[in-house]
Amino acid sequence: MTTDDEPGTVGAAGPSGLSVSGAGLTRRPSPDGRIVEPSPGGFFSAGRGPRLLSAGGGRAAVVSTVSTLVVLAALVAIFLAAPGSAQVRHTFFDPHDMWQSFIGNPSKGYYSVGEAIWLNIRMFLVAEVLILILALVIALIRQSTGPVLFPLRVLAMIYVDFFRGVPLLLVVYAIGFGLPALRLAFVSSQSFAVYGVIALTLSYSAYVSEVYRAGLNSVHQSQVAAARSLGLSHGTALRYVILPQAVRNIVPPLLNDFISLQKDTALVGVLGAIEANQAAQIYGSTFFNYSSLTVAAILFLILTIPLARFTDRLIEKDRRRRLAGAVT
C-alpha cells in the first residue's frame, strides 16, 4: 500500500515543480524529476496572465509578455533537448493513454480518472463543512475564559497539538484501518470515503481552528465593550458582532487551507477508495504508462486554480475596501 501515497504527493504538489521532483525521486525512475518542468512553466504563464493585464502600462505589458514567452520557450527547449525526452513524453504525456485513463474502462480493469475526481470533490465538500464547524467549536473553547471550561480548554489544546503534529497520511491510515478493525456496530462498516472524510476533518480542523483563533483575536476589544455595553449577552455579542468581523478577516487564509484540502483528498486513495489519484495509479500499473497521473494532476489543478484566483480577488477587494475606509 505504501506506494499508493506517492502519486498523491504528485497530485498534491502539482503547482510547484520543485516539490514534485523531490517527492518523485525517492521511488521512481530518475526521469521523473525533469518531466514536470513544462507543466509549471505552463501554469506560470496562466497564473501571470491576469496580473499582466491589470499591470496597466502598455510597454510594461509587452516587456513582461515577451520575457514570459522567452522563459517558457527556454524551458520547453530544455525539456525537448533532454536525452530522455522522448521516453518521458511517451510515459507521461501520451495523448492516447491520457484519454484512455480519463474515460476509463472497468471491464479491462481500470477506472475513469475523470469520474473518480467526483469522489475527491464530494469528500472535499463534505469535509469542508465539517471542518468549518468543528474548527470553530475548538477555537471558541480555546478562546473561552471561564474557570469551569478549563478541562475543555486543555483538551482542545492537546487536540490541536496532536493533529497538527501527526502527518495527515498517518491519520488516514489510523482511521481507515483502525475504525473498521474495532468491529463496532455502525462505526466500523462505513466506506473508505467516509473514513477519509473523518481523517481529513480531524486533521484540518486543528489547523483551521488556529486560523479562527487569529481571526477572533484580530477583532478589537472595543468592539466587545461596545456590544456588551448595549446589554447584549456574551453569546449574542460573539455571534452578531465579533464572529462576523473575525470571519471576514480570515477568509483568505481559510480559502488557502481549503485549496490544500482539495488536493489532500488524494491521500484517501491509500485506503483503496477509487478517487482520481488511485484510479490513475491503477491505470499506471496496468499499462506501465503514467500519463494517467498527468491527467489526475491536471484535474486537481482545474479544481484548485479557480479557488486560488478567487482568493486573490477577495484579498484585492478587501485591500481596496480598507484603503477606501482609510481615506474617508
Partner: protein, 259 residues
Amino acid sequence: MTAASLPATETTAEAIGVTEVHKSFGQNEVLSGISLSVAAHEVICLIGASGSGKSTLLRCINLLEPISSGQIRLLGQDVTRPGVDANLVRRRVGIVFQSYNLFPHMTVQRNVTLAPVKALRMPRAQADAQAAELLARFGLADKRGEYPDRLSGGQQQRVAIVRALAMQPEVMLLDEVTSALDPELVAEVLEVIRELAAGGMTMLIATHEMGFARDIANRICFLEEGRIIEEAPPAELFTDPKDDRTRRFLRRIVEAGRL
C-alpha cells in the same frame, strides 16, 4: 423625545449613586474612594486631566469594569452586589465611547436596531421604525443604509449616540465623545447632547470641552488621582475654584486657550 424620554416609573430622585468606589488595575489604583450622586434629569460633567479616572468611573458604572470595593446604585438599586445580571443593568445605562466603536460590518440602521432586537426582543418592524425616527431626529435620516466607514467622525459619533438611545436608557454616560473628532465636527455632536439635556435625560459626561461643560452641566466635578477634588455648579467652579489643584488645572486650560 419619545424613545429617549424617561419612563414615569421612577420613584427615587437619585439616578446614579456612587459610594466610596475603589478600582485598581494590578498595583495601579485608578479610583481611590470616589463618591458621587446624580439626581434624575441632572447633567453632571466630569473634568480633569487624562488618567484622573473619569473614563474608568463611567466604565465601572456601566459594569464594563468590576470595582475593587464600594457600591454603585442605579435608580436606588445596588448593581455591584453579587448576583446582579450585568446585561439587565447595561440595558438601562447607555454609554458612548470616545472612539465611537460602531460595528463596521453593519449598516447604520443595523447598528441601531441590533441591541433592541436581540437584547430587548423588540419586533424588528418596531425597532426599524424607532431607528428611523431617532436617526431623522439627529439629522442622519439619509445615512440609514450606509456603512460606518463612509461617515465622518461626527456622523459616526451621532450614530453611536442614537445606538445607545435606541435601548431607551434611563441614564446616559458619555466618555469624551468629542475628543477624537476634528474641531469642525465637535459642534454637531455637542448639539445632540444639548438636545438630550433639554429633553431631561440624566447624563454623566466626561469631557475636555470646558465651554460646553459650563453651558450644559448642573454641576461640575473636578477629578484628580481617582478622587473628586471639587464639586460645584459651573458658575462657581469656573470662576471661584476653592481647591488649589482645581485652580492649577483651570489655569492650564485657560493657558491652552480652551476656556
